[in-house]
């Protein structure tokens, strides 16, 4: 038989040769695939060798984990127990002040109310974000409409026999989360409405939306906060008082609404006309077309932009500091003025601690958005 290329028996199943898989191949493919990559790899190794040991020493080996004041974090010259060229993180500061960083001046005896609010919120969030858990609609209704009321009652008090706690005693992560979460929860729906308004066929709607967006987007957040905390009271009639934190919350929320509106509009613009026509031809009304067909697709497209705005908003909450509201960064800075804890290492490690907390929240948001994007991918090309 001459057709020798036809197989008579099954070919054996073999493991891949080491040039296709295995560590050597991986290193060659990923680290030394050309002269440029090789140089970059060597450079990176050099930078790591120079920095990592010092960092590990500072963050872990030399770090002071337990102490009652800043003395243990000082080198000999400052009256501390350590050698002259010693430096190490002063984690004991963050540990000692942790309650302050969490709650600010919220009264000790009442902090369980903050904890309870946090626990309810966290449970609700988990129920919402994990997709295998049923009854999403009810959880969402609860979280959007009932939970804010519960949170307000618990945090503020003044009713149901709960002692009233003024917002200027709130502080730390509590304030950071209150500002950020309010901003996020308000800015997404309002931003969607504004984006729809800006694309509306009605000139008045369009004009109002554009005006709102351009005004808020064109002003620095700091200005907004100053306006809210200093200027606004001047315009309010005598005797009308409303809370400074609340004013800042509204300022932050509307500010991020303007950004959100533009992100959403970007998504709306990517939806082809055929989608609107398909929906209209079936008899769907404007709001049903938007809610069932256009927005689900548009929002999915701009998840990265939405999360980007959320993350920006989360970090911008630190700006409330300058109108005298103590967010996490504010409490850390207030804590640093405590002379008992003075040492050359206190400030650095306190800021590292703050940065780590902010990073953890932002990273979590980023990861969740990637997960969502993958989940919502339905195999259609665009």
């Amino acid at each position: 038989m001459s057709d020798h290329y036809i197989r008579k028996e099954d070919a054996p199943l073999l493991p891949p040769p080491s040039s296709v898989a295995g560590p050597v191949h991986w290193i060659r493919e990923n680290l030394f695939s050309g002269w440029f990559n090789s140089i970059m790899t060597l450079l990176a190794i050099y930078v790591l060798v120079v920095t990592v040991p010092g960092l590990v020493e500072y963050l872990f080996i030399n770090a002071v984990w337990d102490s009652v004041d800043g003395k243990a974090c000082r080198p000999a010259a400052g009256g501390g127990p350590n050698p002259a060229d010693w430096s190490g993180a002063c984690w004991s500061f963050a540990k000692a002040k942790f309650g302050f960083f969490m709650y600010g001046f919220y009264p000790d005896a009442l902090r369980w109310r903050v904890d309870l609010t946090g626990v309810i919120g966290a449970v609700g969030l988990v129920l919402l974000l994990i997709e295998t858990i049923p009854h999403k609609r009810w959880t969402a209704v609860f979280m959007l409409f009932v939970y804010p009321v519960i949170a307000y009652i618990l945090l503020s008090g003044g009713m149901f026999n709960l002692e009233y706690v003024e917002t200027n005693r709130w502080g730390g992560i509590l304030v950071t989360l209150v500002v950020a979460i309010t901003g996020i929860v308000v800015s997404l729906p309002l931003g969607i409405l504004l984006a729809l308004g800006r694309r509306s066929k009605m000139p008045a709607m369009r004009f109002a939306s554009v005006l709102f967006i351009e005004i808020w987007r064109g002003v620095p957040l700091i200005t907004v906060l100053f306006m809210a905390s200093v200027m606004l009271p001047l315009f309010l009639p005598e005797g009308v008082h409303f809370d400074k934190l609340l004013r800042c919350l509204i300022g932050v929320a509307l500010f991020s609404t303007a950004y959100m509106a533009e992100v959403v509009r970007g998504g709306l613009q990517a939806i082809v006309r055929g989608q609107y026509e398909g929906a209209q031809a079936l008899g769907l009304s404007y709001w049903k077309t938007m809610g069932l067909i256009i927005l689900p697709q548009a929002l999915k497209l701009v998840i990265p932009g939405i999360v980007n705005t959320f993350i920006g908003l989360f970090k911008d909450t630190t700006l409330v500091l300058i109108v005298g509201i103590l967010d996490l960064l504010g409490t850390v800075q207030t804590g640093l003025t405590d002379a008992k804890w003075f040492s050359p290492n206190t400030a650095t490690s306190a800021y590292i601690f703050t940065a780590a907390i902010f990073w953890a929240f932002c990273f979590a948001m980023s990861r969740y958005s990637i997960y969502m994007e993958n989940k919502l991918h339905t195999g259609h090309k665009r």
């Binding site: 398909g278 069932l292 339905t378």
Partner: protein, 259 residues
């Protein structure tokens, strides 16, 4: 909810004589006069094929019938209801008129079945179980029940167009509009879509079809309408239309597409 057979045309109590009536209908895009004095009557159960050169206004005409485009002069009466700016009437008409597009316009974020049940549930307020049942019935009818849980992006063009037809049928329309339903498809998929349409025609559906599939026209059309430069230039029974065209423009057009 719907009244029995003959009594559901805008509350007038009698079946309107014509399914669609266009009376001296005109439309402009800016200064451009796209549709010029269109007069057309489509009887219930009638199948009409519309053809004509590219840019002659075929799509624009049938898109006016369910208000995807607005006409500026003349009257459009669909199943006894005159199309005006009254949103209620527009909604009413859209519920009775199904449309199939050249590019399918399926909703990519929903499964095939969800595409089909969406309008019955949200527009007809049908319970989900009933909508599911109807969706499966029509998916079987277009011969793709096994794809019900896939997303449109995972189907071939011919399958997608059949889903689009099923999606329209789920609203139990009285009239179906087709705008070049096969011209975005590969040749081997055209037949599967045409077969479904022929089936519909034999069941007595009122159909207005823009297409260049002359085989389809010969097989099922009661009338073939030829449009050029925004006007209806010729209308005739298929036999006459193909074998004995009257106007020179029709002759030219036919000579080009029939090669």
């Amino acid at each position: 909810m719907n009244a029995p057979v003959n009594a559901s045309n805008g509350g007038e109590g009698v079946q309107a004589e014509n399914a669609i009536e266009l009376i001296s209908m005109n439309k402009w895009y800016g200064d451009f006069h796209v549709l010029r004095d269109i007069n057309l009557e489509v009887k219930h159960g009638e199948r009409i094929v519309v053809c004509g050169p590219s840019g002659s206004g075929k799509s624009t005409m049938i898109r006016c019938i369910n208000r995807l485009e607005e006409h500026q002069k003349g009257k459009i009466i669909v199943d006894g209801i005159e199309l005006t700016n009254d949103l209620k009437k527009i909604d009413e008409i859209r519920r009775e008129v199904g449309m199939v597009f050249q590019h399918f316009n399926l909703f990519p974020h929903l499964t095939v079945k969800q595409n089909c049940t969406l309008a019955p549930i949200w527009v007809r307020k049908m319970p989900k179980s009933e909508a599911d049942e109807i969706a499966m019935k029509y998916l079987e009818r277009v011969k793709i029940p096994e794809q019900a849980d896939k997303y449109p992006g995972q189907l071939s063009g011919g399958q997608q167009q059949r889903v689009a037809i099923a999606r329209s049928l789920c609203m139990s329309p009285k009239i179906m509009l087709f705008d070049e339903p096969t011209s975005a498809l590969d040749p081997e998929m055209i037949k599967e879509v045409l077969d479904v349409m022929v089936g519909l025609a034999h069941e007595g559906m009122t159909m207005l079809v823009v297409t260049h599939e002359m085989g389809f026209a010969k097989e099922v059309a009661n009338r073939v309408i030829f449009m050029d430069e925004g006007q209806i230039v010729e209308a005739n029974e298929p036999e006459e239309f193909f074998n004995n065209p009257q106007s020179d423009r029709t002759k030219l057009f036919l000579s080009q597409i029939l090669i």
